[in-house]
Every structure is written in C-alpha cells, then in structure tokens.
C-alpha cells in the first residue's frame, strides 16, 4: 500500500518533468519544474527524511525566484527549433550515451539492496556513537557538524565562491570605466 502511494506520486513527478521539458512558454515550464521540486518534498516526507525536506524547500524557493527573475529579464518563450540534420551528430552521441546509461543502470539495479532494507555498515556505527558519546538529538546534524565537519566547511566555501563569481559576472562597470567617470 505504502509503495503504491509512493509510485503514484512518482508518476505525478515524472509527468511534471516531461511537461517542464516540453512546454513552449518558459514561465509555465519553470512552474512545472517547481512542481517537480515540491513533489520531491512530499516524497521525502514519506521516506522519513526531515533534514532533506528543509534543505530542499529552501533551495527550491531560491531556484524558483532566480529563474523567474532571469526569464523576466530575457525572452519569455522558447522559439528554438530542434537541431537540423547538419548538427545531428551531438544529438546522436547523446542518445548513444543515454542507451549505455540505461543498460548499465538496469544492470546495476540488480546489485542494489531491496527497497526498504538499506545496508547500514557505516551508519550503524554513527548511530551508536551519537547515542553513546555525542548525545545530540538529531543524528543528521551530528554527522554534518561532527563526523563530516570539513565537508560542511567546504560547502560554505563553495557558497562564498558562488557569490564572488556571480558578482564578477554581473558587475556592470569595469574598473577603467569607473576611473574615467
């Protein structure tokens, strides 16, 4: 019953993703993209992942707002055509790699643990240590801030680099223009 419910939501998400890819109007395409994102939030709640739910909600909001701002500044409809015959080679190469991905994916699914029974070799040690030594209530926060603290530090550095990069790209005036003014 539970798995059927999840599959219904997954089919809904897949339909929204196809709509996001195929719509001509870019604003409605972005709407369909955030339908995918918020549908994922519902699935994460069902699969018992509260930390990921909060992170996904924040990231989804920011993505939606920035995409709408960019589409408002640029063109609102997708007037492009598909590739012509002359440019068929990148498309065929891409489809070739997609087929390879499908084959290896179907091969790799056999080696996965069955749904609902994860392999918890590392995580069981983490859970024991959190309960006995660290004493945090939220295990994910303990992993993020204690066991994998350097990973989190690098993530913050990545966000700072992002802001520097965006400021560099979107800066209106170069230094010479500022001096001449």
């Amino acid at each position: 019953m539970f798995e059927i419910l999840i599959i219904v939501f997954l089919v809904f998400i897949l339909i929204a993703a196809v709509a996001a890819v195929e719509m001509k109007d870019l604003l409605s395409s972005i709407m369909a993209l955030s339908v995918v994102g918020f549908g994922l939030v519902i699935i994460f709640i069902f699969l018992a992942a509260p930390e990921v739910v909060s992170a996904q909600l924040i990231v989804e909001m920011l993505c939606f707002v920035s995409l709408v701002v960019v589409v408002n500044k640029t063109s609102k409809t997708d007037e492009t055509k598909l590739y012509s015959m002359r440019e068929i080679s990148p498309v065929s190469a891409g489809l070739f790699f997609a087929i390879i991905f499908i084959i290896f994916g179907l091969w790799g699914i056999k080696g996965l643990p069955p749904f609902g029974e994860p392999v918890m070799k590392v995580s069981s040690i983490y859970i024991q240590k959190v309960i006995s030594e660290i004493g945090a209530k939220n295990i994910v926060t303990a992993i993020l801030m204690d066991f994998r603290a350097f990973n989190t530090l690098i993530e913050v550095i990545l966000l700072i680099t992002l802001f520097v990069g965006v400021a560099t790209i979107l800066r209106k005036k170069g230094r010479k223009d500022a001096e001449s003014n």
């Binding site: 798995e3 997954l10 089919v11 998400i13 897949l14 993703a17 996001a20 890819v21 870019l26 395409s29 993209l33 995918v36 994102g37 994922l40 994460f44 699969l47 018992a48 992942a49 930390e51 990921v52 992170a55 996904q56 990231v59 993505c63 995409l67 960019v70 500044k73 640029t74 063109s75 997708d78 007037e79 492009t80 055509k81 590739y83 891409g94 790699f97 997609a98 991905f101 994916g105 699914i109 996965l112 069955p114 749904f115 994860p118 590392v122 995580s123 983490y126 859970i127 959190v130 945090a136 939220n138 295990i139 994910v140 993020l144 994998r148 990973n151 990545l158 990069g165 790209i169 979107l170």
Partner: protein
C-alpha cells in the same frame, strides 16, 4: 515493486539528460540540469529508506532509524547543483545582453 521505484528515479535522470542534449534554449538546458540533480537526490533518499523505521532523531525507546548517512550527503549535492545553476543563469543574462537571443544555435562565436 521496489525495482519500479528505483527505475522511476533513473527515468527522472534520463528526462533531464534528454533535455540537456536535445533542446536548444539556454533556460531549457538549465532546467534539464536541475532535473538531473533531482534524480540523483531522489535516488540517494530511496536507498536510505528502511521500512518500519522512524526518522533519524533520537527517541528513548526507538531502535530502528532510517539510514542517516545519505541525508547528510544530500545537502552537498543540492548546494553544488544550486551553485552551478546560479552561475549558468548569470552567464545567460550576459549572453542575452550581447546577442539578444537565448538560442544556442545562433550563439556561435565560440564554435571551434
């Protein structure tokens, strides 16, 4: 039934891959990359689910928790895909100012 659930996350990734390869509009390509990121996140959460278990928050008489390790990795994936998306959006604003179009087949200055 479980295999169907795994396959649907693969399908989500493939829809994004199709969008990146075939579409010609820059915004559409960015949307495709976002969908690929969603597929990866969904797959990580799926392999962390444990049936008849609670979310990884310590309670007194609970012994079954879902796997907390992928939950700690997912925010890194999200931050990376978000950063890539914002940088691509900034670049596409600059390209639109210069070429007055978002069509990849008409922006050919860098073509080798």
């Amino acid at each position: 039934m479980g295999t169907l659930i795994y396959i649907s996350s693969f399908l989500l990734f493939l829809i994004g891959l199709y969008c990146v390869v075939v579409k010609n509009n820059l915004i559409k390509i960015i949307i495709g990359i976002k969908i690929m990121g969603y597929g990866v996140c969904l797959f990580y959460i799926m392999i962390s689910y444990k049936s008849n278990a609670i979310a990884p928050i310590v309670l007194k008489d609970a012994k079954n928790y879902t796997d907390p390790y992928p939950h700690a990795i997912i925010p890194a994936i999200m931050a990376a895909s978000f950063a890539a998306m914002i940088l691509m959006l900034a670049t596409s604003i600059r390209l639109y100012e210069k070429h007055k179009t978002l069509d990849m087949s008409k922006i050919k200055e860098l073509k080798g």
